[in-house]
């Protein structure tokens, strides 16, 4: 459960070394890295953004247009060579590895992830496309193996689900995975419902009795199959236990398949990160948004946040902006251009709106607007239009950075996590120097 720390009674001002603005993957990772380095941290942001996250973590997959890589590290080398503006050009491989390791270790006891050291892995998405990625929740890992072996596999869905069709997946993949079968079953006790929401099912399966009832319905269907695949809704807070118990009951390895939003694994990840950080180590203000960041003469930042409990302010020595792109409101697009709304930072962007998008959504070259964003120096300090750092103590990380089209290059989580660590290290270094 997420516990929002109530606003302090005596005053609405919080003091911290670092204010992280934005609670998506970048902001959460940055808060983790900062806490691990004994930097007192306040995290502000709307957590709804993680509903959109699929839960799988890409590192680096495609570059240039349409070329897929099995080895993400080779791909990153190529990106550094070809695109000096890409955030990966500002970080070393050792730092990227360290950042992934730190997140992965942190999650291990809460929401374990799996990866194949050094290479991308392939899993199947809910529309039946094979997809390469880097780290996947442990609950999806058997899907990677089942696809690799093209093992006889049954994919299940439930009557009343809208965004997931087991039959679609099996039918779409019939050429490359002939051993795939599908079946729709009624989720226990859901017969009277017209619609089944993944979040509700996930919460129901957190209780063992419901898993037993579900397994009883599945058991007769699994005689000739080696693996069983489900939409990603096997438990909300207890997904590992849910999968383990179903595997025991069914006697088969099982796996989850990532779905479009609302995405249960995205919510799990958010909650695992935030709760794992612990309320004693960090101040959060979720469900809120920073509305203003200013700096005092004494070189402290004052971040104003608006929430249901009124206004609060955070006074901090450093600010890390991890507000994301358009969906996260880190960037705002008007008819005449793109701006950064919180501090009016300089945004690198195509000359006019004419150049934002290509004529086909699926153009392999990707849309230039997705490379618009904030340019930084090697310490992830934002730059003015003339290339000077805007302010000491101000840092930027994640998808708001210019130069990385994460949707096409498949580098979203990799850039988020690696640049978060790079920025936090720069903050740590700057703090020590003072």
């Amino acid at each position: 459960m997420i516990i929002n720390t109530p606003a302090p009674m005596e005053t609405s001002t919080i003091k911290a070394d670092l204010a992280v603005i934005g609670a998506g993957m970048t902001g959460m990772a940055a808060a983790l890295f900062a806490v691990n380095r004994k930097i007192s941290t306040a995290l502000v942001g709307q957590h709804s953004a993680m509903n959109f996250a699929s839960g799988i973590m890409d590192l680096m997959g495609v570059h240039p247009a349409g070329q897929q890589w099995d080895d993400p590290w080779k791909a990153i080398d190529q990106v550094r060579y070809d695109l000096p503006d890409h955030p990966f050009a500002k970080v070393e491989n050792t730092l990227i590895k360290e950042s992934l390791e730190e997140v992965s270790n942190f999650l291990e006891g809460k929401l374990p992830y799996r990866r194949s050291m050094g290479t991308n892995v392939t899993l199947v998405t809910s529309v039946g496309t094979p997809k390469k990625t880097y780290m996947v929740p442990k609950t999806m890992w058997n899907g990677v193996k089942a696809l690799e072996k093209k093992a006889p596999t049954l994919i299940l869905d439930f009557t009343g689900m809208k965004l997931f069709s087991a039959r679609q997946i099996a039918s779409s993949l019939e050429k490359i995975w002939p051993g795939l079968r599908s079946k729709t079953i009624d989720f226990p006790k859901s017969e009277l419902l017209e619609e089944l929401h993944p979040e509700h099912v996930a919460r129901v399966l957190d209780l063992s009795a419901n898993r037993v009832a579900l397994a009883r319905r599945i058991k007769p269907l699994v005689k000739d199959v080696e693996y069983i695949g489900f939409p990603a809704l096997l438990g909300m807070y207890k997904s590992v236990e849910t999968v383990a118990e179903l595997e025991t009951l069914l006697g088969r390895p099982i796996f989850e398949i990532p779905t479009p939003p609302v995405s249960v694994p995205g919510i799990r990840l958010q909650e695992a990160m935030i709760n794992g950080l612990g309320i004693n180590k960090i101040f959060y203000s979720l469900s809120t948004m920073a509305t203003k960041v200013t700096r005092t003469d004494g070189k402290e930042f004052i971040t104003t946040i608006k929430g249901n409990n009124g206004n609060q302010t955070i006074v901090s020595k450093a600010v890390l902006l991890a507000t994301g792109r358009f969906l996260g409101k880190g960037l705002v697009a008007g008819r005449r251009g793109i701006c950064e709304p919180l501090m009016n930072l300089f945004v690198t962007q195509p000359e006019s709106r004419d150049g934002w998008h290509r004529t086909s959504l699926f153009d392999p070259k990707g849309h230039p607007v997705n490379r618009a964003g904030i340019q930084t120096d090697s310490a992830f300090r934002p730059l003015t239009s003339s290339g000077e750092p805007v302010l000491d103590g101000l840092y930027v990380a994640g998808s708001i950075l210019a130069g990385s089209d994460w949707m096409r290059m498949k580098c979203g989580s990799g850039v988020a996590i690696a640049t978060a660590l790079a920025a936090v290290k720069a903050i740590e270094t700057a703090g020590t120097e003072k």
Partner: protein, 525 residues
Amino acid sequence: METEVLIIGGGATGTGIARDLALRGIRSIVVEKGDINAGASGGNHGLLHSGARYVSNDAGSARECMEEADILRQTAPHCIDDCGGLFAAVQGDDENYVADFPNFCEKAGLDTTAIPPEAAREMEPLLADETIAAFRVRDGAIDPFMLSLENMAHARALGATLLCHTQVVGFERQNHCITKVWLEKTGTGERFSVEPRQIINATGAWAGKVAALAGATTHVLYSMGTLLVTQSRMTQGVINRLRPPSDADILVPGGTVSILGTTSVRVDDPDRIRPTVAETNLIVEQGSKMIPSLEQTRYIRAYSGVRPLVSQSSGVGDDRTVSRGFVLLDHASDNLDNFATITGGKLTTFRLMAEKTANLVAARLGNKTPCTTKTAPLPSTLDGKWTEPGIAPSVWFAKPAGKKDKILCECEMIPESTIDAIATALRNSNETPNLLTIGRRSRLGKGPCQGAFCSTRVLAHMYNQGALSGPGGVDDIKAFLDERWKGQQAIFWGDQLVQAELTEAMHCGLFDLELAQPGDHGHDH
């Protein structure tokens, strides 16, 4: 394949002719290279003109509009939102034109009522504070898709045939007659021929190209107009800028949305049109002088149509000064006895265009039955039903509790049963149900999400129903989303750009659809 009449073009005119002929007992085949209303018939305001727009420069067209609009109000009321309209001038507009307007209307025989600007703003609260004059007119809104689908449905019930995705590729001619027309299925390339007694070229902007194929000449100019769709309905009635016809001077309600346009840009090729950023900027700037909130509102789509303008003079000057009247050519001067071209005109006058064309062809066939479309009611069928905004939700709401099926398109509230009904109707007319064809016959993908979610849900549903199998779903969803993209690219700013990012995050970021190869995504990557 034999038929009395082959009609080329499945827009408002072609489908209107098919119905007119069918009512006279003449059988026809309509061939359409795309789908119903794929050209200008589907790329317009959906304005049922009072005629007042043309009073200053084309009184004949103005009068024609007025008369035809009245006929449609009587015969096809289910296709019409008789919402009324206003002409409004704002500070800075030509005051002479404002002063002359009532006289122009009177000369053309149109009813207009001057109303004080304050009263106009009470009727339409979003009108600019700077409104200086206003007149009430009998404009309305008409659903062009429902109209063509219903015309075609009625014609088919009376014996006509519709062949969509079928293109004319050649004519065989003996002396003064075309004896055979070669057709090609655009999807498969399969060729076959028809031997009609009469051929009608009702291809709108493509009339010149088709006539040339038959060895005849028709000079058509292409004037592209772009329109923007707002997320919600802004006004009760139609709002016209009270000035000589110009850019972005009409805002028409279209059920739950409003449509703002248009521009007039001469283009060389009707097959290569697309709304541009420059046009959308111009439309928003101009439109917001009339309705200031058009500057802030969310736009969900832009689209373009090509007006076919038949050049009868030197073609100098603004395309708006070229007559919006229609042209019926009998091609006698091309030494052709059984070929006719109908083009130009407006949606509002499509029935009259159909009547004149059918008169010519009926006379050539020796059929003396008179035209009845002035009075014969247009039956309401299921074919056109689902294009109407709000119809799917109202049908769904009317179902008893416990019988309500799942909503697949949440923006426009389209449930599974509606998708199934449309799929069945498509199969009954030899069309393949897929996201594009279902989208053309419903509001699917036309809400704020522009297909991001509903495409996935409908695809999943169609697989579950057995309506789809194999890997084709990936091509289907890509084609559908690209069609939606085409209409949004020029209006990606504000909330709609946020939507675009979400769409791309889902379909490229997660599903990797941009990496899927057409035909098979069986690449084991």
